[in-house]
Amino acid sequence: MAVSREPPPALGGRDHSRRVRLQGPQWVGIPLLFAVPLLALLGVFGESFTSAEAAGSDVALRVEYSTRYRYKQINAVQVRVDNVAGEPLDTVVVAFDPRYVRQFSTLMFIPAPQAPFEIVFTDFEAGGSRTVWAELQGEKYGTHRGTLEAYRTGGADTARVTLRTLILP
């Protein structure tokens, strides 16, 4: 007798028109299940960055920072300050809003702050620029807002931008 090597045809070749059917809560759950990775592929849960600018009569300010990142991730706030006064400036202060910065952990500033979250530049030549680099680790969930200011000590006005960062859990 020849060996067929096929298992016995239990169904005798019978089948039915197969369709995948969802039931009850699956109509909500399955689309949600697929939505999360699809949104992730589109970058909805990833990092996003922006830049903002402001200028006063003495200094101009440009900041690049992350508007969204995740818990325990580290991102940098990069600040550029330009002397637009047309003359040398004795002292220029770049000040981060403590309400904003205190929502993060493992803070690192280059150059180092002279006062809490305040970096001071002296002997700022006319037309020159300075850079501040701040690394902030995501700690508290939610949206954090605060200002970043640059001003000449004793100056008439302040260059100010608002920072807004969402930390995902």
Binding site: M1, R18, R70, P169
Partner: protein, 160 residues
Amino acid sequence: METVVRVAFVYLFILAMLRVMGKRELSQLSPLELIMLILIPELVAQSLVREDFSMTNAIIAVTTLMSLVFATSALAYRFPTFARLVEGTPAVLVEDGRLIGDTLDRERLPPEEIAAEMRKAGIERLEDVKWAVLETGGDIAIIDVRRDVRRRAPDTDRVG
């Protein structure tokens, strides 16, 4: 985005590896296989989530995995060809009391395991086995000659 790609890649890789290893590994775990299955999660965990320990990343990873599992299951149900691709096909180990050596070799399944399954089914002799089939899930199904005779008996009576 990277997490989705990583989870999808590792899922497909493990699925392919399980298919390559064969059906028997799915059912009964030897100590070596158990060690391997315990170590695999340890080895791939970091490559999946990297240094990102956020809940967001965990949710993305879990939903990606569950989506892949659901999609694979739905496709396997809807398209039998796809089911054969990911799950394999049953393999005949014994037919009409004869061991199918090629299948036993391919599945690395010693005849003693068939004998053990025969004893569980209350069958003493290989000659009494009509079919022994290694199912896609790794179990061995046994149909004995007596059951086969009983099933056919009414037809035989009518013919007679």
